[in-house]
């Protein structure tokens, strides 16, 4: 079970959130194991698929293939980290894909048609994404609206705003952007990694820190566990909920910047349906959809899992791309089922 080591360290830190600590260490251990079971399954499944892929397809087992998982899914990884916080708090954010599209669009528009420097544009779009998420969080918290429907409207709004800027795709020829996107950092031998992948890893690390070692993170867990109790405990629930959606908005905008680097264009149809991939990654990573239980590091594995399914299908060559969607759906089903079984058993104990 050495594979779960990254998951267990933060789990230990998250333990005190369960607060009361009535049981013996042995009891707490059993509880932890049950909570991290989905993550353990994901990691085992990932290793299994990587092994099978390596055995079945020549050239699969190379460092570059695995680094490509991260390179090709860097934006998804960043978005999914934000989504993890939202789901941990018991909410959902359906606007992430369209915020990415809006970010690519605004970046391309300002850089290409207004001659702004990318270094001025990037902070601006990050701020815009954060504000967008923050306003949605405000509506959700202040007016007791359902996160699902508010972020759905946010999704309409962001996509619509893309089309207000331009209906067609705007390609980016800016030197700064293309140089950034071509940066390759050598890792080991011939294997290299892009700047985007490094940023994604940094976001995951920051997410782990934020979730497990700050009071904000603990409040998120507490709100997701039981908002009423959190409120009665005197935790800053309102500020945290707004913060969570602002964080998700920030992550979406950052994901949008990475997506701009990846595609070198702005388009209103970019990242269509990405919110579903992000939710799938979070669920597969072992975060409970009812909130309060989960690990940010699990989300990284969730993203890698989605990536490896795509890679396996690409390596196979005979399977068409739509099998990816079916496989992701099946995986989602298995993990939701597992969550149900786990929570049901937890309830009866």
């Amino acid at each position: 079970m050495s594979a779960v080591a990254p998951g267990q360290a933060p789990a230990g830190a998250a333990g005190p959130v369960a607060a009361a600590q009535p049981g013996t260490p042995a009891f707490a251990g059993a509880r932890l194991q049950r909570r991290s079971l989905p993550l353990q399954v994901t990691v085992s499944l990932f290793v299994l698929m990587a092994t099978l892929g390596s055995l079945a397809y020549p050239g699969f087992f190379s460092l570059q293939v695995f680094l490509n998982l991260l390179i090709d899914n860097a934006f998804l990884c960043v978005v999914a980290v934000g989504m993890t916080f939202v789901i941990l708090s018991g909410g959902i954010d359906l606007s992430v894909g369209s915020v990415i599209a809006l970010t690519t669009m605004v970046s391309a528009w300002l850089v290409e048609q207004h001659g702004w420097h990318p270094l001025a544009v990037i902070p601006l779009v990050l701020l815009m994404g954060t504000a967008f998420g923050g306003v949605m969080g405000l509506l959700i918290e202040r007016y007791r609206l359902q996160p699902f429907i508010v972020t759905l409207a946010g999704m309409f709004l962001a996509r619509g705003l893309c089309y207000v800027i331009s209906i067609d795709s705007i390609s980016i020829g800016n030197e700064f952007f293309s140089e950034l996107s071509f940066i390759r950092i050598p890792v080991w031998g011939d294997a290299t990694i892009t700047l985007s992948a490094l940023i994604a890893l940094a976001v995951v690390a920051a997410g782990v820190y934020l979730a497990h070692y700050t009071s904000f993170g603990r409040t998120v867990y507490a709100v997701g566990g039981n908002e009423q109790s959190a409120l009665l405990m005197g935790l800053p629930v309102r500020r945290t909920v707004i913060g969570v959606y602002a964080l998700s908005g920030f992550c979406s905008a950052l994901g949008g910047v990475l997506f701009t680097l990846y595609m070198l264009s702005g388009y209103g149809l970019h990242a269509l349906g990405l919110e579903l991939d992000a939710i799938a990654a979070v669920v597969i990573g072992g975060t409970l959809l009812t909130g309060g239980v989960g690990y940010v590091i699990g989300t990284l594995f969730g993203v890698m899992m989605l990536g490896i399914i795509q890679t396996l299908i690409a390596f196979d060559g005979t399977l068409s791309s739509w099998w990816t969607r079916i496989a992701v759906g099946a995986l989602l089903f298995v993990f939701c089922l597992m969550q149900r079984v786990l929570t049901a058993r937890g309830g009866t104990h």
């Binding site: 699902f148 508010v150 990816t324 969607r325 079916i326 989602l332 939701c336």
Partner: protein, 354 residues
């Protein structure tokens, strides 16, 4: 000031008042900018005009919104309807296919399988999708949004699997009747939507079914304890919703004479939820109105029509819809209403009293 008579009071407090007012305002807006808007004439053996056009185009949305209303009434949600539309459309188109065969100098229609079989298969597949959703929600106890998310993700893949990633074109004239034909001078799709509405309305108002559904939405545990077969009813409601989506899929694919696994019914789930919300059904379950959802669907279609006819770029549509959703949501929120009341009445009271 005389107090309004009871009839006026009843009208003012009727919950369909605002949806109807919205619809009438939109129609008036259309009529103001387009003088021929309200004009309906008889041409080529059927009624012809903007109003007929709106009704015709709204039919699929009305169907999906009707099914969605009952799902939402049980405190659920079904975000897989778009995928179900795609599956039903793909299956029907793939089974009918058809080719243009010229026989004795005249084009004859040949389908791969009989049309009734294709339609039955498409609706059967839709029902199976609904059964799957219903079992996940009622038996396994998943959150409805997550349970239907699974089919939403996988469903498009399945639809593309059926169409093999292509857009299937149908060359079988009788099939076009469903979405493009006319009966008694009115579009046939309208009759399908009206029949489903009539059946559901009768079932909900003339039997205890409506009460049962409402009770599940208000308190599932209490409903079960009171002897309502909550689980079976929930499964039934999801199956009904998927069936409506299947019908909508048939209408859409027959209207465009093709099936596109990737794009058919795209964002339809959102439009349906919007229609249900506009119609005054509470998203938290319980209170619902089938007629309200029909009006909601008509509002959306009239809005779309208005945007097109006013010459506003159609892409703005999304922004307008978003603003409408935000406004409706806020108006439904008691906290927001209380805040507005404070803002509006406090200064007024301070200035007006003594």
């Amino acid at each position: 000031m005389t107090s309004p008579s009871p009839t006026v009071q009843r009208v003012l407090h009727h919950r369909l008042l605002w949806p109807v007012v919205t619809l009438v305002l939109l129609l008036a807006l259309n009529a103001a900018f387009n003088p021929t808007f309200l004009h309906v004439e008889w041409r080529d053996g059927h009624l012809y005009g903007s109003l007929v056009d709106i009704l015709n185009r709204a039919a699929p949305l009305v169907l999906v919104a009707l099914g969605m209303t009952l799902v939402i009434a049980t405190r659920g949600i079904d975000i897989s309807v778009g995928a179900v539309v795609a599956i039903a459309a793909a299956l029907a188109a793939a089974l009918i296919g058809g080719s243009l065969v010229v026989k004795d100098g005249a084009a004859a229609d040949v389908s791969r399988f009989p049309m009734w079989l294709a339609i039955a298969a498409a609706l059967g597949a839709a029902l199976a999708c609904g059964l799957w959703n219903g079992l996940l929600v009622a038996r396994i106890g998943m959150q409805p949004i997550i349970a239907t998310l699974i089919l939403m993700v996988a469903g498009r893949g399945i639809a593309q699997l059926i169409t093999e990633g292509q857009i299937i074109t149908v060359y079988y004239t009788p099939y076009f009747f469903i979405g493009g034909g006319y009966l008694l001078g009115l579009p046939f799709a309208l009759f399908i939507a009206a029949a489903v509405f009539a059946l559901l309305y009768l079932a909900v108002t003339r039997s205890a079914l409506g009460l049962f559904i409402q009770s599940i939405g208000i308190n599932p545990a209490a409903a079960r304890l009171a002897g309502v077969k909550a689980r079976r009813l929930t499964v039934g409601v999801y199956m009904l919703c998927a069936f409506c989506a299947g019908l909508a899929g048939l209408i859409i694919s027959s209207n465009v004479k093709s099936a596109d696994g990737n794009n058919a019914g795209q964002l339809l789930e959102l439009d349906a939820i919007l229609a249900v919300t506009l119609g005054g059904t509470s998203l938290t379950g319980g209170r619902f109105s089938l007629l309200g959802s029909v009006i909601g669907a008509l509002i959306i279609q009239t809005l779309t029509y208005a945007i097109y006819s006013l010459g506003v770029p159609p892409e703005i549509n999304l922004v307008v819809k978003a603003v409408v959703v935000f406004a409706v949501m806020l108006l439904q929120s008691p906290e927001f209403r209380a805040e507005m009341r404070r803002l509006v009445f406090r200064p007024a009271a301070a200035g007006g009293a003594q």
